[in-house]
């Protein structure tokens, strides 16, 4: 099944600039969310979106139209975010670390919102103890669904290293939730 983005990508690859504009509008929210989760800063995430769009435009001829476009675009967005985190100081706060400043989604029920809000408070404490690498691996694997091989390629490390970071990140998050109880 072909998505609208796939169709715009094919047309944009043929030089249709209006198609590229529509493609960029479709990709930007996804790239922004990924970059924000990885970088923890709204301004840097906006930078990453810009760089992602530039890279997409430059490398559109490498896109295989038989494959879905969005995962390919998100790989490029991940690389754009990585380029930025390398340039930036390492002491910036991560998105999970200011999770308690954000509102719970309006679509959930009040009891669910309260539950999520409390979980986020616990996550805030957990994320504060994670290294940058642990947090990024957690974001990419558990929130964005990347494979460990894809993460290893992005972070330029081995899959074993990714798995070590992932296990530690999950363990830290779980220990923060330990007092929470829930429905168990």
């Amino acid at each position: 099944m072909t998505s609208g983005l796939d169709q715009w990508a094919r047309r944009a690859g043929g030089g249709d600039h209006d198609a590229f504009r529509r493609l960029a509008q479709g990709v930007a929210p996804h790239a922004h969310r990924l970059a924000w989760r990885l970088l923890g800063d709204a301004d840097l995430a906006a930078d990453a979106v810009q760089e992602c769009l530039v890279k997409l435009h430059r490398h559109l001829d490498r896109y295989d139209p038989r494959q879905p476009f969005l995962p390919w675009a998100m790989t490029i967005a991940g690389h754009a975010a990585r380029d930025i985190w390398r340039r930036e100081r390492s002491d910036r706060r991560a998105p999970l670390e200011h999770a308690d400043t954000l509102a719970a989604p309006a679509s959930s029920r009040p009891d669910q919102r309260a539950e999520i809000a409390q979980l986020r408070g616990d996550l805030t404490r957990a994320a504060a103890g994670m290294s940058d690498a642990q947090r990024r691996v957690f974001v990419l694997r558990d929130l964005e669904g990347w494979t460990t091989a894809e993460i290893a390629e992005l972070m330029e490390c081995t899959e074993s290293t990714v798995r070590v970071h992932l296990a530690r990140a999950r363990a830290r998050a779980r220990s923060a939730l330990a007092h929470h109880g829930g429905d168990r």
Binding site: R21, D43, V49, R120, L166, R170
Partner: protein, 220 residues
């Protein structure tokens, strides 16, 4: 021999299906005969699901207005086509208008309907803005705060907010490609661009965001 300790070290990865086939088989074999580890494994699955659900519920702040459009405009192919010429027509009209304005006596120019007086700007920013400085003379300081850019009309009395950014490093805004493009466009159109800053002394990120949001809502 597979010990409970070894198996429990694998459970964070088992919970997310991130083990190798051999590791998965070893865990499955052990859990089949160890009720304690089986209960721990189930707890791991549940906790990971809840953790991911809570983290995924976070939504990023909105993309800056016009960011995608500015990027796409910059990436427009340089070849001259019928569409490109059509896109230039409004610019040509603007250039003619600018020439006409340039030759008009200043005292006969009507003041712009857009923009507000500086004291109204200060009200929107809760009085924290430093005096506005022409962009060409402004040396972005380091440190946290809010940066506001204005178009100042020819009378010098009215200010139209065009951009407002907040961040940990005020100097960083200069490298935003979309903003640089917008500034170039404004400069090309002959706008008098001034910049004012509200420095954040306490690294109050939430306060900065609220200030920026309120000012944008008030002035745009």
């Amino acid at each position: 021999m597979t010990t409970c300790k070894h198996i429990r070290e694998l459970l964070p990865l088992w919970a997310g299906n991130d083990l190798t086939d051999a590791e998965s088989q070893a865990v499955a074999d052990h859990l089949g005969g160890c009720a304690d580890c089986a209960a721990e494994a189930e707890a791991w699955r549940l906790d990971l699901t809840r953790t991911v659900a809570a983290a995924a519920a976070e939504e990023p702040p909105s993309l800056p207005d016009g960011l995608v459009e500015a990027a796409v405009a910059v990436l427009r192919p340089s070849g001259t086509s019928r569409h490109r010429l059509a896109a230039l027509q409004p610019l040509a009209a603007a250039a003619v208008l600018l020439v006409l304005l340039w030759w008009s006596p200043l005292e006969h120019l009507p003041s712009t309907a857009q923009g507000v007086a500086w004291h109204e700007v200060q009200d929107a920013f809760h009085g924290c803005l430093e005096d506005p400085i022409p962009l060409t003379q402004w040396d972005a300081p380091t440190g946290a705060g809010v940066v506001a850019l204005f178009k100042r009309d020819r009378t010098g009395d009215r200010y139209e907010l065009t951009d407002c950014l907040e961040g940990d490093d005020l100097a960083a805004w200069r490298r935003y490609p979309w903003l640089q493009q917008r500034l170039r466009t404004m400069a090309d159109e002959g706008d008098d661009i001034v910049v004012a800053v509200c420095r954040d002394q306490q690294d109050d990120r939430v306060g900065r965001r609220r200030l920026r949001r309120d000012a944008l809502a008030e002035l745009r």
